[in-house]
Subunit: 343 residues, 2 copies
Amino acid sequence: MMPEKVTIADVARRANVSRQTVSNVLNSPDLVREETRERVRQAVEELGYRVNQAARRMRTGRSRLLAVRIEQTQDGMNVFDRFLHGLTESAAKAGYRVILYSADDDRSEIATFDDLLGAYEPDAFVLTGTHYGDVRTSWLAERGLAFVTFGRPWGMPEGGDHPWVDVDGAAGTAAATRHLLDAGHRRIGFIGWPEGSGVGDDRRSGWVRALEAASLTPRTKDAEARTNDAEDGEAAGVLERRTDGSAAEGEVAARELIAAGATALVCVSDSVALGAMQAGPVPVIGFDDTPVAAAIGLTSLSQPLSEAAVRCVRVLTRLLEDDSPDKPDHVLLQPSLVIRRTA
Amino acid sequence: MMPEKVTIADVARRANVSRQTVSNVLNSPDLVREETRERVRQAVEELGYRVNQAARRMRTGRSRLLAVRIEQTQDGMNVFDRFLHGLTESAAKAGYRVILYSADDDRSEIATFDDLLGAYEPDAFVLTGTHYGDVRTSWLAERGLAFVTFGRPWGMPEGGDHPWVDVDGAAGTAAATRHLLDAGHRRIGFIGWPEGSGVGDDRRSGWVRALEAASLTPRTKDAEARTNDAEDGEAAGVLERRTDGSAAEGEVAARELIAAGATALVCVSDSVALGAMQAGPVPVIGFDDTPVAAAIGLTSLSQPLSEAAVRCVRVLTRLLEDDSPDKPDHVLLQPSLVIRRTA
DNA sequence: TACCTCCGTTTGAACGTTCAAACCATTAGA
DNA sequence: TCTAATGGTTTGAACGTTCAAACGGAGGTA
């Protein structure tokens, strides 16, 4: 039983109207008289007609496809697959499908943009992992292509003003730090990523901000450089470390911070936090609420990923279907602290 | 700078040939004279021509799209995202792209097949999570549609003979059991899933097989029912438990098995194994080698997911491009034991 | 009555590709 | 010398949709 192809012409014949009228019922129902509209709708129903996207695309240049890069998972402690799942679902609700591609770096990703545009003409791209000097966004913007990034355009003051959705990392680490302050801790360390990571610097800034709000001086490297002696009676070393994001370096950093007097640790990621937990029985808070955090009882910051996905799709549909807004949409969502054993 | 559309006609003009000749260079190069072919190739290069898949698809009915369902991740301890990544990459190498969809159950998945076929005409489907009485495969097979499953057609002796790729779960648990036997254990328990899960029953059978090969009687429920008294001096209870797959039930099961005399445990999944680890300092082996296993030092069985993805694509390309083989391809891959702290 | 407007509908063409058939040299066979 | 076969190329049509323009009837206005 081969699946029979039902075309718009079949529907038209059945409903005793022309092809164009069927097309209008589907795309601009208000152009068609009530009675005719119903008749056509019924014919569509009875025949199980579905629009052929290839043919539609040929005429309109619209594919109803969103292209998303699938990220390579290093240690698997990431957030991308949950985001992708949400994206697939909310895209489907809006009548779009997700098409995947992979790329090793920005250059090859741009080459893939080109490939995809030629072959499948996705209506829009969803980019993740934005960073300083991101050439992908400017490439797309120059060509007037629709896209949204999950992540802010770090370090692009003016030129890079494009639509984005992001989670407020600083607010997250600030909440984590406050949680530890409330528990009585005064010497709270931070384990981060190398300087120059937009996401990393943002998360670090929340730790700084929360300490300052509590009238404590964050013992950053800068602060240390300015005042070389301890403020009070306690030994006061630098209470922050930068790592490559691995658990191994997280553990080393945690040992050093504990030796320097830290009594609790805020970490830039679950991976680093996992390492930090091995350094001793000190309260630790991670970031991303990965399955690993749930498994080992690590307190962590959870990103609202389904919501982020929904908002990405909403931003894009506004861009594609309504007349383009003057100002690009910017959406900043709040993470939430999931409290478990470690803090 | 809008991206200029280059069509096959542009290339033809540039190379001083007809459209069809360009098409032949692309699709059946051997039909075209060497010299002409080169000229056309150069024109393609210079103009940056890329075939328009929508137009091609309209004529040929081929979309070069593989449809894959994105699985909902319950506790995030799954294997799917790594498989999907591999699939995207190997599909791209073969000139295909992956299009995603989601569905809540088999019925709605079939409805989505129908939708997708009408709208995007994917050339093939990749199904995961096969199970007893899987209606999806028969639906596709009845319509003569191309597909491959990652997972065997459990409990379908004759009718369900379709192409599949799978990992030999029984071989995995057998290897795990042998590993524990080699370490001197004689009372090795198994924590599984409810009866009737194809994958679960398969993994359980490896444990049974390895014990029998070592001339030990696996203390299954069946065995217990047959002989009601202990074989030797030791207290001999049932050494297997079924769980819903959660860590919580895994822990309960582990406590019972240890109380019944088990000195080591083979688990049907990392999730269950994670729970089992909480029950006490007994060697535990999980299945799937998820990021959680790596994080907590759980010895586990690793599935060759990239390889599985490559083989899925190969099976499909053979199905789609070569003349269809008489016998559907069946590929069974071997998992490997990743030894960590817990065993 | 003649003309205009508006609404709902139909008609023809076009999107970019490939199929099927036609075409044209050239070479081979009788 | 004529016919047939072969290799390489071109031509016209078709895939299923939507755009742009044309059409025709009902109602209003002069």
